[in-house]
């Protein structure tokens, strides 16, 4: 692991004359310089001069300061850090896929088109929704696509609407997305059990009344374009009144968007299309285990109901059946359909993060219908096991039945002046990546733990034992927590100065 405490920036290592890339011999005449003099590249200030050996050592050393899924449990709630099967990496690197050009005629990329079509069929059956686009590059891009579908639908109905409702427990991407799609956001309050409140809610601290779903629907009516609802929500709880919520919204012509970030709790168990969802996104990098890559690339396919099909981004993949003789197995050919007059247009330059789609299909084929359901159930069992083992040591601010993740609060530890951040940092000293912290916002000092199905009993026990030891330590030696981490390559970072006087790149001294 951390063999060295410091690895300089590569720029500080640069020595003139070193090369990490040799070029092939030029077999055509050298380029004539046709550039206007002022557009000729003048030079570089930072590009380092290093050999391949040094570049590889630099990035190998840096890598050792990262924690990965193969190091152990990575319990970031809502992020779904599953095992990343190596098969999926291998097939994504097949030259038949990587060499294929996005502008090549359809007849030459039949394998890619069939892959897109097949993955869409899987996602349709999993969500119970008849329309899919694989174009959005990430969950947030999927949200934006979904909300633009809602907008296009209302515009086609002749009534431009103004408002999107979003629960206060929602991901920050939801309100940011609604704003990017030109909507005003109105917040829905949560009930003490973490689900959306139909009734008005009075804040116990300041006495302010926050309007519940019923009031908002009555007052805003046809101004409501839709609602963005995470289900299971960010507390890991199923919105058990989802059908009533969608019926109420539909009664004023509003549509229901489901944030599918937590779909890994529902695959093979329940289908959004069966409980009133009109449009939703899936995070292939969560539910379908494509690697997170230090922050991407992901993929955020959008699935939608019949009434939104005309608005899907172009192009849409189409399967044609090729005529064959009697008794022969029917053959198919695939093509992109660009001629869709009501489409919202394109949301990615080409067809999305195709390499990620390859991995997701490999995940589907490996798991199959039976494996997908089993993965869901095991993720739920694992989260509930952690909940059972830790619920006496850490407060469950919300006591509703947990699905794939469990959210604790730091209220018991706060009495000893130890807070969520300290607990998270202490976990690092014990060799664990901390859970998601301070989210969702409706839980004070939230510690959101999602083990996923990738952990076995040994790994879960070791993690729980550590969490229990830390809870003891809070009482006996709170200072150890305030100082944590002490065993990582660095101690806590000065984030205030980083933001106040930003240094965002290296410059020559």
């Amino acid at each position: 692991m951390f063999l060295r405490q410091r690895e300089p920036l590569s720029f500080e290592r640069s020595v003139p004359g070193k090369r990490g890339m040799d070029l092939p011999k030029l077999d055509v005449p050298a380029a004539k310089d046709t550039r206007p003099a002022h557009l000729k590249r003048s030079g570089f200030d930072a590009l380092p001069e290093l050999s391949e050996v040094e570049v590889i050592r630099h990035f190998t050393r840096l890598s050792k300061w990262n924690y990965g899924v193969d190091d152990g449990i990575y319990p970031l709630g809502s992020c779904t850090m599953k095992h990343n099967p190596r098969l999926n990496e291998k097939v994504a690197g097949l030259p038949g896929f990587t060499d294929s050009h996005p502008m090549a005629p359809d007849a030459l990329v039949q394998g890619n088109l069939e892959l897109v079509f097949t993955l869409q069929e899987w996602l349709k059956e999993i969500t119970g929704l008849p329309g899919v686009t694989l174009q959005p590059s990430a969950g947030a891009a999927g949200e934006l696509t979904g909300v633009m579908l809602i907008r296009a639908y209302h515009v086609a109905q002749g009534a431009k609407r103004r408002v999107i409702l979003i629960p206060d427990s929602g991901h920050g991407t939801n309100p940011a997305t609604a704003a990017m799609a030109g909507y005003d956001v109105v917040e829905l309050p949560s009930r003490p059990d973490g689900t959306i409140s139909f009734e008005d809610v009075t804040d116990p601290v300041n006495g302010k009344v926050r309007k519940g779903l019923k009031t908002l629907v009555a007052e805003l009516g046809t101004e409501i374009a839709g609602a963005m609802i995470t289900n299971p929500n960010t507390v890991g709880v199923f919105e058990y009144r989802f059908k009533e919520i969608s019926d109420l919204l539909h009664s004023v012509g509003a549509l229901v968007y489901m944030d599918g970030a937590n779909m890994n709790a529902l695959v093979g168990v329940a289908r959004p299309g069966d409980f009133g969802v009109d449009v939703m996104h899936l995070n292939l990098h969560k539910t379908f285990s494509t690697p997170h890559g230090g922050g991407g690339p992901g993929a955020g396919p959008v699935c939608c109901a019949e009434k939104l099909l005309p608005f899907l981004p172009v192009p849409v993949v189409v399967r044609d059946t090729v005529k064959v003789g009697e008794g022969e197995v029917p053959k198919h050919s695939y093509r992109w359909d660009w001629n869709r007059p009501q489409s919202i247009g394109k949301v990615h330059t080409f067809f999305g993060n195709f390499g990620i789609l390859v991995r997701a299909l490999a995940y589907c084929l490996s798991h199959g219908s039976d494996g997908l359901r089993e993965a869901t159930l095991r993720a739920i069992v694992n989260a509930n096991y952690i909940r059972a083992r830790l619920k006496d040591a850490y407060a469950l601010h919300i006591d509703s039945p947990s699905l794939h993740e469990v959210v604790f609060s730091d209220t018991l530890q706060a009495k000893h002046d130890v807070h969520t951040l300290d607990i998270a940092k202490r976990l690092i000293d014990h060799g664990y990546h901390p859970p998601t912290i301070y989210f969702p916002l409706i839980v004070p000092g939230a510690l959101m733990i999602e083990p996923t199905e990738s952990e076995g009993k040994d790994e879960l026990d070791a993690f729980c034992d550590t969490m229990l030891a830390i809870a003891k330590e809070v009482e006996t030696d709170p200072e150890a927590l305030h100082q944590a981490p002490t065993l990582a390559p660095l101690r806590r970072m000065d984030e205030t100065t980083a933001a106040r006087k930003p240094v965002l790149r290296w410059t020559k001294a």
Binding site: L9, D27, V28, T34, R35, L39, R41, F44, D45, L47, P48, E49, I56, F59, T60, L62, G68, D70, L76, L87, V91, L94, F97, H101, P102, M103, L108, V109, N112, L115, E125, A140, G172, K243, L266, V269, A270, H292, G295, G296, P297, H348, T349, F350, F351, I356, S366, H367, S369, G371, L372, R378, Y385, P401, A424, M493, A499, P502, L504, R505
Partner: protein, 450 residues
């Protein structure tokens, strides 16, 4: 199932501790009527071998080529072996966004280096930890320009911008009733200065031009900057082939205020269009309006240098509907490929590679012009792509090339009615003289139009 670690006895122990008889009992929070009463109507699980074969079968159903003379936003370059080897380390590809800096210094320092290099290539001060791709980078840039340029609501877009980037822009501008996207025409393959002058007014926040543009032509940013700045607008350069930065002056030094585009050329294959790498670089004065993750340098409690995600007050998880963008995850691992590529190349490698691209494209153009059916359309400086008019039968040309496993350039008629019968050709360091000669020979044999 090989990816699920618990044994039956361990499963039993987990359920006993929880206090339920079966895993299904934990679904009590989902109302019974909303549950799926049947198995998913999909194939059952597959072994590694079976899945590998199925996927290989799909990959094999794509046509392979000896050479592709097609660029148009997705460029085929050589990828050094060190890149795949390094990116295959689990510490890089399985990690998440570096929310916990003490345990993510690898990713954070890498991103700081990546940011430094994007700033170096573009000649601007600040960049972020990436955007999805060229088209979506244009959207984020245009929306940022409108934020920065308060009370200006129009973005002028040259028709020299990648036609698909313009489509993505249109999609994302449609919901904003107050914003206008206006196209500026082309003349001789570059932005028409007269049309630009006519459309510049006090409402124009920014002007976006390709550098080089979709037709391969090098727009004179410096000449465009004059009128654009005089109108109080920002000049945005959009680069779809980032390798051009080894050949052309940094946009920030040539007059651009913002630079965005596509950097897939640094260490990636065309991969049917993604994952690619969107970038956006801006001036220091605008840094607090930039979308997406940004990494900054700081100190730890002991005064040791380290890196953190910073300027988070712009972001969706803090600002919600007031954020600069909804972007959350980006193209993390693709930035690693770009960083590795650029550090391996170094200044000499990058310049040398760019010169080879220019040389190959010039040679290809020269040889194609030796054919009687090919003729120039306009005369502009270019990097590794250029346009020629083909007087023969386009379908016959396409067929002849494919029969010999060569993928020809792009038929521009699909995107530009005025360039009907014209082809956008691309050559990179991968194209040997021999491949170019094969292409010329095949084209020489294409039957004349009937």
């Amino acid at each position: 199932m090989r990816y699920l670690p618990s044994s039956p006895a361990e499963d039993r122990a987990l359920l006993d501790t929880i206090g339920v008889a079966r895993a299904e009992d934990l679904l009590s929070g989902i109302p019974e009527p909303l549950r799926l009463k049947r198995g998913l109507d999909l194939p059952t699980q597959g072994s590694e071998q079976e899945v590998a074969w199925q996927m290989m079968d799909l990959a094999n159903r794509n046509t392979r080529f000896c050479a592709q003379f097609l660029g148009a936003g997705a460029y085929d370059h050589f990828v050094p072996s060190a890149i795949d080897a390094m990116v295959g380390r689990q510490e890089w590809f399985t990690a998440y966004t570096p929310y916990q800096p003490e345990i993510s210094q690898g990713t954070l320092q890498h991103l700081f280096e990546y940011q430094t290099l994007i700033c170096d290539l573009t000649g601007l001060d600040v960049t972020n930890a990436s955007l999805y791709d060229g088209g979506t980078a244009c959207v984020e840039t245009a929306l940022m320009a409108v934020r920065v340029q308060k009370k200006r609501h129009t973005v002028l877009v040259s028709q020299g911008l990648h036609p698909l980037y313009r489509q993505v822009l249109r999609t994302n501008f449609a919901p904003h009733d107050g914003l206008k996207l206006v196209e500026v025409g082309l003349k001789d393959g570059v932005t028409d200065l007269a049309d630009l002058q006519a459309k510049l007014n006090g409402d124009v926040a920014a002007v976006m031009v390709g550098y080089p543009n979709f037709l391969g032509a090098v727009e004179d940013l410096t000449a465009l900057a004059g009128p654009v700045h005089a109108a109080g607008a920002l000049l945005v350069s959009v680069t779809q082939e980032a390798l051009a930065f080894g050949w052309l002056e940094a946009p920030g030094k040539a007059g651009a205020d913002m630079a965005c585009g596509e950097a897939m050329s640094f260490g990636n294959k065309p991969t049917f269009g993604g994952p690619f790498l969107g970038f956006l670089a801006v001036k220091d004065a605008h840094k607090r309006e930039i979308p997406g993750r940004v990494v900054g340098q700081t100190k730890d409690l002991d005064g040791r240098t380290g890196y953190v995600l910073t300027l988070t007050a712009r972001e969706q998880h803090i600002r919600r509907d007031k954020a600069t963008s909804n972007i959350c995850s980006n193209q993390g691992l693709v930035t690693l490929r770009a960083n590795l590529f650029l550090q391996l190349a170094g200044p000499e490698g990058l310049k040398g590679l760019a010169e080879q691209n220019a040389a190959k494209a010039q040679h290809l153009r020269q040889r194609l012009l030796d054919l009687p059916d090919m003729e120039p359309v306009f005369d502009q400086p270019f990097f590794n792509e250029f346009v020629l008019r083909y007087k023969g039968d386009m379908a016959a040309l396409q067929e002849a090339c494919l029969a010999e496993s060569l993928l020809p350039g792009l038929d521009l008629g699909r995107f530009y009615p005025e360039y009907q019968g014209c082809i956008l050709w691309c050559a990179t360091e991968l194209h040997t003289r021999r491949m170019i000669e094969s292409l010329v020979e095949i084209l020489a044999r294409v039957p004349a139009t009937v």
